[in-house]
Symmetry: C2
């Protein structure tokens, strides 16, 4: 298969670049048509890879693309999951090249979605093509690529419930995560959950003159800042009552294993150009980004933000706040705790509104599972090195739902790197990683089929 | 003169409406040409009123309009000050009628600048016309209308220094303040000073994925909120070291006099639709908005503020913060104290930048002064009621500068009302107030000339 991949290297890349040229931003309705274009492009690719069927399923939101290749009902079935939607690209001015005009620079593909997740799910389509073209397919394959991952997969739940029979499988293979380094392969055995809310604080019924009313009427921005500040104590612990009640504390042994992963705090700080890191007291940076929950303000706005100075006492202030969750926190429960607490700390001089955006459960795949074993062997074979188990800080809410609805585990075999600038300007994906993924995925199928025998 | 005002009522109004149609927003460079148009309009009005000369003086920023009528060097000279620039009109969507298309509704003029300050300074030009047309001018008159009051009058200082001789006068008459009610006339004997800064907090060198880095890297929005929250304690006292050192504490007697002004807290809360007021412990609402300094965030922004949800850990967060100052606080000194303190409370995980925007000194005119006596008599004659001395919460930085450069006091005889929505959508000015001002101003000249004899 290596030979086939090499022979088709250039085409495999150009097909991805064409996909990256479609600005499929799910969060922004201005890109609705591009979402349709992207879905159509994905459907066609699955068909061209040699699938028996490939279809677009409309949903209440953006469409889901589904395709399959059933070679023998007796063989195990692997469901591939990915998403063709991308994060908004703004701030555009910080991109060195336009986000939707991919360029190759020093062996990397620069574009929004290059890694997250177009580059990563497209590896699977090319791997499928490779397995079929070379007669090496050892499992039945189902491919489901959705268009709402970056906005919480709000319609995928009902889609999966509706099509439980079509999607029936033995395991789910997902490439939407990272490895530690190109010479240090790793597999994510856990993901953090997420609760995302938008808050609004209202003071007076209109914007006021800060001279005439300042000092006597609540300023919703000051109040919002005070409320947000109070959500963490001096040690960086989140102060929402009950927030930590269901957090799984890892054993010293488990924590040691986690911290054994190669990590240089100095290199980390240098790369981010920060003088110091900042997080929950008593935990390492690796732990803070994997086994501990967080609370981050993702956006804030209020009052006059234009050129120059305006002495206004605004009527409203807003913030988008997200919390990353760990086992066994439940997103709905945390959202509820947040809402109740946030409303309770509002002074009587303001009104507060909390609107839940979306959420997802945290997730863990045991290293003892067959899918983990298969992924470990596959990576060991392609990288020449046994991969390390890691815990991811990000969230793929859907994996917990898959377990509920389809009754099987997901394996998070991603090929990205921390330097890929996911969700940031100048997102990129290494050519090495793209081709290494296409090479490794068929090996997963081989070992998975063997282990399931 | 009353008769002349009545006969020209309609023209006096239409001339103001034409001025209000010019969107002279000084803070926003997109309106640069309109600033020129407004200046030209003002110059012409002064000329048409019967001035000896009326000219436009270019500055490093927006032009100053100056005109004068010298009838007898032996007579006292009154300098009229006002500003033709207005606050930005946004948010536009909250205006019931377009901000620069004035409409008359229930006896009020609705437009940006209707009261602040176009409506108020234009009264003086019409009063001048009236005095000249009816042979009632009792003082020499100088008129200086600037175009940068809403952005801190940054170039007026050097203009006044440069033209000290031209501007030489005995007192300065300004209408840019309010009365308590149409049946409760009042004169502002004091103004708060102002220090306005913009702050920037920077975390990592780029926007990050809140899942991958959340919990380990400083979030500049969270940090900015914590820093802003820490600027006040639970009692609403400002925590900046030295902030209150020079604040004049009023005597119990002075405070009683101040609180004697008719004021209903219930009506105040109802009008703003707030369940409670909020301010410094130990002071009444009247005191909080007049004799006490404040700290308000006028604008805040950072991260993703668009539609939907973006799980970004932003690189930067910004805020515009202003402090209202009272005698004897000095704006430069307070700006310095703020900057030093704000930088000192920044955690090592972020970088902080503080950029001073502009400022102004607080100001007081004694009720014993000749100009106050003249204004008191004038209002008593036109309103049929002795005006109350009040302390204003707003800032007209230039009055302190006038005292320094021209060596004379300013008298703040304004005719606005708190319901005029200054700096807010749907700004308005009462027709009663407009005409009452035109009627009262000549009476000030009459009494001032008499008292100076």
């Amino acid at each position: 298969m290596k030979q086939y991949i090499e022979e088709n290297q250039e085409r495999f890349l150009n097909e991805l670049l064409d996909l990256l040229r479609i600005p499929s931003v799910s969060a922004d309705s201005r890109f609705r048509d591009d979402m349709q274009k992207a879905a159509a492009y994905v459907r066609e690719s699955i068909e061209n890879a040699g699938a028996d069927r490939a279809e677009i399923y409309e949903t209440a939101g953006h469409p889901v693309v589904y395709g399959e290749k059933i070679i023998d009902p007796a063989l195990p079935t692997v469901l591939i999951y990915g998403h063709y939607d991308v994060q908004p690209a703004d701030p555009y001015e910080l991109w060195e090249s336009p986000p939707f005009e991919p360029v190759i620079k020093n062996e990397r593909i620069y574009a929004r979605g290059a890694c997250d997740d177009k580059g990563q799910f497209y590896m699977h389509i090319k791997a499928l093509e490779t397995m079929l073209a070379t007669g090496n397919l050892t499992c039945n394959v189902k491919v489901m690529i959705e268009g709402e991952e970056e906005i919480g997969s709000s319609n995928l739940g009902s889609f999966v419930r509706q099509h439980r029979n079509i999607l029936a499988c033995d395991t789910i293979l997902i490439s939407d995560t990272s490895i530690i380094a190109n010479d240090v392969p790793s597999i994510e055995t856990g993901l953090r959950g997420l609760t995302y809310v938008e808050v609004e604080v209202t003071g007076a019924n209109r914007d006021l003159h800060s001279g005439v009313y300042g000092g006597a009427v609540a300023n919703p921005i000051n109040v919002l800042c005070e409320m947000i500040a109070s959500l963490k104590d001096a040690d960086g612990h989140i102060t929402i009552p009950g927030f930590y009640d269901k957090v799984q504390e890892l054993s010293g042994q488990e924590r040691d294993a986690l911290n054994a992963a190669p990590f240089s705090l100095e290199a980390y700080k240098d790369e981010l150009q920060v003088a110091d890191v900042r997080g929950e007291a008593g935990y390492t940076t690796i732990e803070r980004t994997s086994i501990r929950p967080t609370l981050d303000v993702n956006g804030i706005w209020g009052g006059y933000t234009g050129e120059g100075a305006k002495t206004v006492l605004p009527s409203k202030a807003h913030a988008k706040i997200s919390m990353r969750l760990v086992p066994d926190q439940h997103d709905d429960e945390i959202c509820e705790l947040f809402t109740r607490h946030f409303e309770s700390i509002a002074p009587p001089s303001v009104k507060v509104k909390v609107v839940p955006h979306h959420g997802g459960l945290p997730y863990v795949t045991p290293t003892s599972s067959v899918e983990y074993q298969a992924a470990e062997k596959a990576m060991e074979e392609s990288f020449g090195k046994k991969p390390l188990p890691t815990r991811g800080g990000g969230s793929i809410p859907i994996v917990a739902l898959f377990e509920q609805e389809l009754g099987c585990k997901s394996i998070l075999m991603g090929f990205g790197l921390d330097i890929d600038n996911l969700h940031s300007p100048n997102e990129s994906y290494g050519l090495f990683n793209y081709y290494k993924g296409i090479e490794t995925i068929p090996l997963f199928f081989k070992h998975y089929a063997a282990l399931k025998k």
